[in-house]
């Protein structure tokens, strides 16, 4: 491959003066009230947060999205009308009204949640659905982006996305609007896994008054 060799030779010809790679300090963020910070950060980017998990997710959904017909559930807690495995082609979730997925990581600084192909199974269910509902164990909150990148997903996931609020754009007249191409709303429900295969008993609503992990 001539191009490869030529480029590699060229960048080694007269490189800029060498400089050591600096150590990135462990910045800890402003405070230790992670849930409060997360909720405030999410609000800034027009995401919603439900701090007290509803005892019945199904009825919460029908109350919140009364028009929704097609519910794609990627979580054990909810049946939904369709699961990711039902989609043969990745463009099929286009008619999904609400996707429900669990995130393994939330970031207090930015109000972001992480999802990867492991949680989504079909990557497009998060972006094609009209509305996105994310379950997040408050114990999985970290203070800043620095701690977030220590999550193993960033080493091994084929696709990992930090989602921060609903899709938006300010490309016309500098006015921020929702949605652009992705989800119209994003709601995070702070709820520990109810039956995550760890043999825990079902903890109906309000099991958590989560502080730090």
């Amino acid at each position: 491959m001539a191009a490869r060799e030529e480029i590699l030779t060229a960048v080694r010809q007269h490189p800029p003066p060498s400089r050591d790679l600096p150590q990135v300090p462990a910045f800890q963020g402003a405070g230790d009230r992670l849930v409060d910070e997360f909720v405030a950060a999410l609000e800034l980017i027009e995401g919603d947060c439900v701090v007290q998990p509803p005892s019945d997710l199904q009825s919460w959904l029908s109350e919140r999205f009364p028009e929704a017909k097609r519910i794609c559930s990627a979580v054990a807690e909810l049946e939904g009308t369709v699961t990711p495995e039902d989609f043969a082609d990745w463009n099929e979730p286009a008619d999904v009204d609400v996707t429900v997925v669990r995130s393994p990581l939330g970031v207090a600084e930015t109000g972001s949640i992480l999802v990867t192909e492991r949680e989504l199974r079909v990557n497009t269910i998060a972006t094609l659905a009209q509305h996105l509902v994310v379950l997040l164990d408050p114990a999985d909150l970290v203070p800043t982006i620095h701690q977030a990148y220590a999550h193993p997903s960033f080493q091994k996931a084929a696709y990992a996305v930090l989602l921060s609020g609903p899709s938006g754009t300010a490309d016309i007249g500098g006015v921020p609007v929702h949605p652009a191409q992705g989800a119209t709303t994003l709601t995070v429900i702070l709820s520990p896994p109810t039956d995550g295969g760890q043999g825990g008993t079902e903890a109906p609503g309000g099991s958590t008054n989560a502080g730090d992990p």
Binding site: I7, Y159, A170, A180, A183
Partner: protein, 481 residues
Amino acid sequence: MNVKPVDQARNALAFLEDKDQTASFHNLFDEGIWALRERRDAAAREVPEWEQLRDLASQIKEHTLSNLGDYLELFEANARRNGVHVHWARDGHEHNQIVLDILASHGVKQLVKSKSMLTEECDTRAFLGRRGIEVTETDLGERIQQLDHQPPAHIIGPAAQKMPQDVADLFHRVYGSDPQNAEPVYLAHVMREHTRPVILEAGAGMTGGNFAVAQTGAIVTVTEEGNADLSANVPKLRICSVGIEKVIPGVEELAVFIRLLARSALGMRITQYTSHFAAPRAGGEMHIVLVDNGRSQRLSDERFWPSLKCIRCGACMNTCPVYRRSGGLSYGATYMGPIGIIMMPSYDLHRYHELPFSSTINGSCSNVCPVEIDIHEQIYDWREEMSAKGEYSVTKKAAMRVADAVLSNPKAYRAASEVGETAMRVLPHFAIYNRLNAWGRRRDVPSPVTQTFHQWWARNRGDGVPPADASSERPSSETSG
């Protein structure tokens, strides 16, 4: 090929006087762009370690660029291990040909793509279009510019130079939407309705890349709309084009840039989608094209390599008074504003030789730059370079010869400034504001003073004696006394 030099100042006049726009459009533009700068300041102030992050980002970039060959090889090895096809392109044409070959080998006729300044650089859309590939931009601003046959006016907001009504007219023409409705939320909806079906049926998707992480082989895109994630995930075939300078060591370093980028660009803590594409899905295919296109040459230039540190946030243009009063299209270049001024001449010295003069060298660009590029000093260095290479317009040459003679001779300078002040008081308007005075073309020359500094000194401090040479003068204690 248009080799005629870009006359940014003349283009800026067109922006300021454009009859099609409402009279105040350029003021709205200025205010809108400045608002980004203000939001950036507020976001930066929230972070106690902001300046430390800038230092780190600068050092990480310098470290990586000084070992670029090793990091590129590491990135390539890890991407290959992830099952990704890695290609290398020396220039834009080679890049476009590689992309075309990938598409042709899969029989793809429809490509959806997200915003990428690199593909603007390579003119990829036009290249593919001429060869029967229908390319649809899926970023709203970029799509607007595509439909209106214009290049981006800003690296973050490509359609920043359009009023909502312009977009309403454009979408009416193209999509038949309501021309009376210029509400941005409606127009964004029109875009969604017309672009989603194209995304769902496209044979391939293409993205750029904000970062390429050597440690993991992942391409990282930082976006707001969700269009990059759809373009990259819906079709089975994914192509990511990325400049070789975008490589960074690992995810620990990535965190520093993610914290800086959206705050610098938009005053947001993060954008809606921070996406990491490391491997194809089962049954899918992922290609990464690493593009040089002049970067390795700039890297070996001991003066001008630092512009390669750029992470494309646009903060330098948002703070630049020349950009804000000229518009991005006036630069006639892929990259505009202060960063464009120091990047473009290395692509084509003659064509962009006027750009380094489109600056007041106030240093604000360097102060907001998240990777601490000494932009204003680079601009000055480019002026010297233009002078050394003889790339000077005739009027500038004449003016500089006079300035050189006067400024290098204190007596002549004093005489000239006294005569100048007198002349400005007595000369008629047309004698001051004529075509030879480029500076006064769009500005009011400051009101003449009644006395020069030297005259004031002689009267008040020096007992009639002019001050000694300024360089031997210590700051006086007059404020404390």
